[in-house]
Amino acid sequence: MSVAAPDLVRELTGLAAALRRAGVGVPSAGVATTVDALAALGTPDRSATYWAGRLTLCSGPDDLGVYDQVFDLWFSRAEWAGDVHRGTVVPTYRDAPEHGDEADAASEEARTAPPTASRLEVLRHRDVAELEADDRRLVHTLVRRLALRPALRRARRARSSTRGRTDVRRVVREAVRTGGEPVRWHRRRAGVRTRRVVLLLDVSGSMRRYAETYLLLGHALVRSAPGSEVFSIGTRLTRLTGALGAGDPQRSVEAVAQRVADWSGGTRLGDQVKAFLDGWGCRGLARGAVVVVLSDGWERGDATLLGEQMARLQRLAHRVVWVNPNRARPGYEPATAGLRAALPHVDAFVDGHSLAALEALVDEIARGGRRA
């Protein structure tokens, strides 16, 4: 630590703080590592400082763009540094989630009267978009408690079992103990693992009334099935998994609201599904997963693109489930161009307007364990 000049330590600490303000998750031990790295590099010139910082303070490709910006600003700052210290200027590449005051959320919940069974039964089947505020709150409490049971797949690792192939290694291992005589005959067979569940959540204007309910569903998913992922699609793709990880659903939903830039904007489903596949799906996120698209299929862009991308998605994923809240309306026909293009490439097309429908969706996700 003592090798680097003391003012350099201060500069680097400042750089790390500026990065944190810009939304980069700099680990608390990060700066010490940077200083060590810089000391090991010898002369702390601009290039050495840049790389020492980048190698130790960043932890993902998303961070690199922010880092370049912040680094430039930090080390070529004049009046800028003061502004950062005062907090009047914050690099706005990414939205850092801020925690608001949640004190009144709890008291509101306490006010809600205990619901009766029959009222619940009625509410379960009502369209959430048409509920009064009180009822909606109650339904949301129940949505939060939905525990997703992901579908299963065959695991690579075998588990010991009473049936299956002979576990030669174990038999021999135990035989050593008994002087070379195999006494018990062990067997093993393939275990099972859960499939990843990926939610693609349409947050465009036409889906606005369901957005909160679906976000709570996303929260329940991330909390109950580790490894699940939630993305919002609208005019741009946003990964929500991290923001939804907080224990308190309300806080999660608020963190998400800050992250999503295009609440109730238009929809370019085809582009967004493509962005998802290019950025995440192709790299393995969607491979073998159960992908659930929650959207009404209103497509501003070209529906052909959506069709192509859904075909691609279906080839990668284990199952594709499309949830449309409008499907339960009397006399509903999948008339939107986007939906018509997408449906041939979907394994299941289900309702999503009520609590009962969401419960059915949970079953749908767990269903069809293995596709031939």
């Binding site: 790295a37 090991a40 590099l41 010898g42 980048r54 993902g60 490709p61 050593v176 192709c282 393995g284």
Partner: protein, 306 residues
């Protein structure tokens, strides 16, 4: 410490080992070696993450120990395992020998038999019957440990790996602790099919490997396919650079550029033209959708902007 004195020298030495590293990658490698901290490399497939580790081993004069991760990899596959069949055979052989001794030497003494059991146990759980897997092997001699495609392994394995990398020591209950005299240089690669855990990232230098720029790519291909015509290599690199600008499912990596240059050279080409490019497109564009998309604009891509 032996080896390169500074980053510039490392770049030069890597160059001699046929790996053309940019400044960032070389700095990262140098720091990983000097400060004994693992290096986490991420980047598109085919940008040379694995080959950096190979070249680094060559430069530092160490063995390369490679641990390829896969789903379900466990300690027995990564760390060590006991050679049970050999142990069993050993027990049986000793038994047979003892029986022989007993039949020829008259009555057996009880205490001698008891002694044998103790000795035998110690012998069975000795280094002789231990099968070192990559992690243990990398601790036993100076090496460069390449943990390839960590994102394929499970979360639990990551935690286990962290434990080993924290103090470069492994405790084997039957044998004791094996500590690395010379800590291995650890290079971990990931293709980002899932996010590597934060705890691991915290303990590593993080480096995102970019596609090389045009000049570097030309130099790399020249080095790897020295028999090819200079104009051909130049053209191939340019077309590939343009292909990366196209909206492809899988933009070609450096490995593809090398394959393509080699393929074209084998066909006797001295420059890239549309006809040969169309015939050999499979070397560089590997999705049917991409090929269809490229087919229409191939002439433009090959000829380049007028």
């Amino acid at each position: 410490m032996d080896g390169p004195q500074d980053v510039a020298e490392l770049v030069r030495r890597l160059d001699e080992a046929d790996h053309l590293a940019d400044e960032g990658t070389a700095t990262a490698a140098w720091l990983a070696w000097r400060t004994q901290r693992p290096l986490l490399l991420e980047g598109e497939p085919g940008v040379g993450k694995t080959s950096l580790a190979t070249a680094l081993a060559q430069v530092l004069g160490r063995d390369l120990v490679r641990l390829q991760c896969y789903e379900g990899i466990d300690a027995a596959a990564a760390l060590y395992d006991w050679d049970h069949p050999r142990q069993l055979l050993h027990v049986r052989a000793l038994e047979a020998a003892q029986r022989d001794a007993r039949s020829s030497g008259g009555d057996a003494r009880d205490d001698r038999a008891a002694l044998d059991v103790d000795a035998l146990e110690g012998e069975l759980w000795s280094r002789r019957f231990l099968l070192p897997r990559p992690l243990l092997a990398s601790l036993e001699r100076p090496s460069v440990l390449l943990v390839d495609e960590l994102d394929r392994a499970d979360d639990e394995f990551e935690a286990f790996l962290l434990e080993v990398l924290a103090d470069f020591a492994v405790t084997i209950p039957e044998l004791g602790t094996v500590r690395a005299e010379v800590p291995p240089v650890v290079v971990v690669t990931s293709n980002r099919t899932r996010e590597v855990h934060d705890a691991l990232k915290r303990r590593c230098y993080y480096h995102w490997v970019e596609h090389p720029d045009l000049e570097r790519e030309i130099a790399i291909v020249r080095r790897r396919v020295p028999q090819a015509d200079a104009a051909l290599v130049d053209g191939v690199a340019r077309v590939v650079a343009r292909l990366r600008e196209e909206d492809l499912l899988k933009p070609p990596g450096v490995a593809e550029t090398i394959d393509w240059a080699r393929a074209l050279h084998e066909l006797g080409a001295t420059r890239v033209d549309v006809a040969t490019a169309a015939r050999t497109l499979g070397a560089v564009v590997k999705y049917r959708e991409d090929q269809q998309r490229i087919a229409a604009s191939l002439a433009r891509l090959v000829e380049g902007p007028a």
